[in-house]
């Protein structure tokens, strides 16, 4: 790379002396005027009233799905590590139905995914995906509110009706599963490295313990840290008020300012935990599992006494999908018990199909050696098949009734992580 030009005296001279003639000023002004005209158009949002009664929902469903046919292809966007790279389940689907699937792990986190697709959906354009997986929370609600999700035709989802656990059929963020059915659920709790921590942490309060100064990891997501802050104070996140949020934020600020938190991680805490850069951290249940299996580490996960968060990643169909019928067939396919078990065995997160546990146990009994050990771990793990007691300790995210509320919430908690 020849950087001689930098030193070209004429270049530098030209750069440092202002030499815009009248003509040039007009030209620039002309361009600027064009720019201003464009910008004056403004950026359009598109909130529309959502159907509330079941009759309204039914008519929406009929309106959308009438005339839609199978096309033979599905484009599926998902999070990383949510499917075995060899894609055995997808291959089985193609074998049975002839529908090909393009599977891409392009979703890294909800906010940036939402930011990517929102402009396209607002313009009524295809996002190149027919099926995607969105976590419940702020962005899921926004997608619903903006009318970007397809209301599902449950007559096409028999497996879901038969095999999904009851609790997943009436979630607070999507009662009646109008727009979504779960892909997997997960818990946010505390992960720790027993090599560095003598007494295992059992409470959220342990994350505030000064003896772990500089060795605690927290998540960067506003909803996640808000939940932990609220639970620490004994407040239920689902019913928290803006005053509660301020109190929780105060606690989180204390934790940060006293140097206890080393860093706010988006998803990359598991490595530093294994390496000893941090000793305990807020974590997602499946990550600990996967790291242990992958690298043979001995990291542990606990659901704190005060409570933990349960979130659900949901399959949804975007409004501008080109192959909705194929997409909904694929969604239902994942609810076959054998397929659900196969998924659970890889992703190690909570499956919405309880009957899968028996299948995994069966596979474990038939397997040998390393595979047997792993499958047994999965089959008996409360992180994949939690008990009722476990569920009792788990809380949802706060649902927001308006955008203003949501923005207030985000502002309060983002101020903590971007310090």
């Amino acid at each position: 790379m020849n950087k001689d030009f930098i030193n070209d005296p004429a270049f530098l001279r030209g750069m440092t002396t202002r030499r815009i003639g009248r003509r040039d000023a007009f030209r620039l002004a002309g361009l600027s005027a064009a720019g201003l005209a464009l910008a004056a158009c403004g950026v359009q949002g598109k909130g529309s009233p959502r159907p509330t009664t079941s009759a309204q929902v039914q008519s929406e469903v009929e309106k959308y799905w009438s005339g839609k046919v199978k096309n033979g292809h599905v484009n599926f966007a998902n999070w990383p590590l949510y499917m075995d790279p060899k894609q055995p389940e997808l291959k089985e689907f193609t074998k049975r139905t002839g529908i090909t699937v393009t599977y891409k792990e392009v979703i890294q986190d909800n906010p940036s995914w939402f930011a990517k697709i929102q402009p396209l959906l607002a313009a009524g354009q295809s996002i190149n995906y027919d099926l995607m997986v969105i976590t419940n929370g702020i962005h899921f609600t926004q997608l619903v509110r903006l009318g970007y999700l397809v209301p599902l035709d449950h007559s096409k989802l028999p497996n879901f009706a038969a095999n999904a656990a009851e609790r997943y059929k009436n979630e607070s963020f999507d009662p009646g599963n109008v727009y979504s059915i779960p892909w997997a659920s997960g818990m946010t709790g505390i992960a720790y490295n027993p090599k560095y921590v003598d007494t295992p942490p059992t409470k959220i309060a342990d994350l505030w313990n000064p003896k772990y100064k500089g060795k605690v990891g927290m998540m960067a997501d506003a909803q996640e840290i808000a939940n932990f802050g609220l639970l620490l104070l004994g407040i239920k996140p689902e019913t928290s008020t803006p005053d509660d949020w301020e109190k929780a934020a105060e606690k989180l600020r204390e934790q940060r300012d006293s140097g206890i938190v080393r860093k706010y991680y988006d998803q990359s805490y598991i490595d530093p935990l294994a390496k000893g850069d941090i000793w305990l951290t807020m974590a997602w249940s499946g990550d600990v599992f996967q790291k242990n299996i992958s690298d043979g580490t001995d990291l542990r996960f606990v659901i704190p006494e005060e409570g933990a968060t349960i979130w659900t990643d949901n399959m949804v169909i975007p409004k501008t999908a080109e192959n909705p019928v194929d997409a909904i067939m694929l969604m239902d396919f994942f609810y076959e018990v054998e397929i659900a078990a196969s998924l659970a065995e890889y992703i190690n997160y909570v499956t919405p199909v309880p009957a899968a546990q028996e299948v995994v146990r069966k596979h474990a009994a038939e397997a040998t050696g390393e595979d047997k050990r792993l499958l047994e771990q999965v089959a008996e793990s409360p992180l994949v098949f939690p008990s009722e007691e476990d569920y009792a300790k788990l809380h949802d995210y706060r649902n927001f009734t308006s955008t203003e509320e949501q923005q207030k919430f985000e502002r309060i908690f983002q101020a903590i992580t971007t310090s």
Binding site: K3, I6, G35, G42, V261, D277, A415
Partner: protein, 289 residues
């Protein structure tokens, strides 16, 4: 004769037209659009409306003053450190490099064939608390056991220094390389010591290169966010992180644009002050040939 004159007169405009158009549409106009967007108010659900909303600037600057100042500080530190590290290197290659000058330059540039993100991730690995650099030092007791470099401002500055290094070295090298060795001889004939030669002759002649190098380092370093994300911890967020967050995660376009524009304005003002202070024009007249 007349035809040729007209064609010759039009040639530069014809040549310039496509490139200038591209720059006009995709650089000048977007900057104006961004300025305009910063004066909108609203959110994603309800849409944005142009309302001469200067409040975004006030909000943005007051909320994120820490980050703005911190970015300027980190950028400044990184630039100064690079200057100190890089100037001797440029000097040595220019004057003592001999036949192998291009080899050394090539070696300096070599690491930058590898993706920016990968390089920074590799540093994260190298600087890890008990990793390959700190681990052995800790086990022989040279540094305290709970010392860590990652998740501190120092790590971020180190990353910045590393990632923009060639932008400092190459311009300085180019300026030094142009210096006619006879000028140095002349100085020595006039009984100047090595040090005096450097101070009175070499350094002033290298100033255009230093100016360019500082410029091409300070601007990207101040507005970077990758280093802060990978190598930093709490309290190391830079204004680049904030802008990226506001654009790509919050979709709070008005505040994001306002911050972006503020950053650009601060940097431009800084550049002009710096250029004036250095008296670059005078230096250039001398260096010009």
């Amino acid at each position: 004769m007349r035809g040729r004159g007209l064609r010759a007169a039009l040639t530069p405009y014809a040549l310039v037209f496509p490139g200038a158009l591209w720059l006009g549409i995709f650089f000048v106009i977007p900057t104006v659009v961004m300025l305009s967007l910063s004066l909108h108010s609203g959110n994603v659900t309800d849409g944005y409306v142009f309302t001469w909303n200067w409040q975004s600037y006030v909000d943005g600057i007051t909320t994120y003053t820490d980050q703005i100042v911190r970015s300027l500080v980190y950028g400044f530190l990184a630039t100064v450190i690079e200057l100190i590290i890089g100037f001797p290197v440029a000097y040595w290659i220019a004057f003592k490099g001999g036949r192998h000058k291009s080899v050394y330059l090539f070696l300096i540039l070599l690491p930058f064939l590898v993706s920016f993100v990968l390089r920074t991730i590799s540093w994260q690995f190298l600087l890890s608390d008990n990793g390959i650099l700190l681990g052995p030092l800790k086990s022989i007791g040279l540094i305290p056991k709970d010392m860590h470099i990652l998740a501190t401002g120092a790590a971020v500055v180190c990353g910045l220094v590393y990632n923009f290094f060639p932008f400092m070295v190459l311009p300085i090298y180019a300026a030094l390389e142009r210096i006619d060795p006879r000028v140095l001889e002349a100085a020595q004939d006039l009984y100047a010591s090595k040090f005096q030669t450097f101070l009175r002759v070499v350094f002033p002649l290298s100033l255009p290169g230093v100016f360019a190098g500082v410029l091409m380092t300070f601007v990207p370093a101040t507005s970077d966010y990758v280093n802060a994300t990978v190598l930093g911890g709490t309290g190391n967020t830079m204004i680049g992180n904030v802008i990226q967050n506001q654009f790509l995660i919050n979709q709070d376009y008005p505040v994001a644009s306002a911050l972006s524009f503020t950053l650009m304005a601060i940097l431009l003002i800084g550049i002009f002050i710096y250029a004036r202070a250095l008296g670059t024009e005078d230096v250039l007249e001398v260096a010009a040939r």
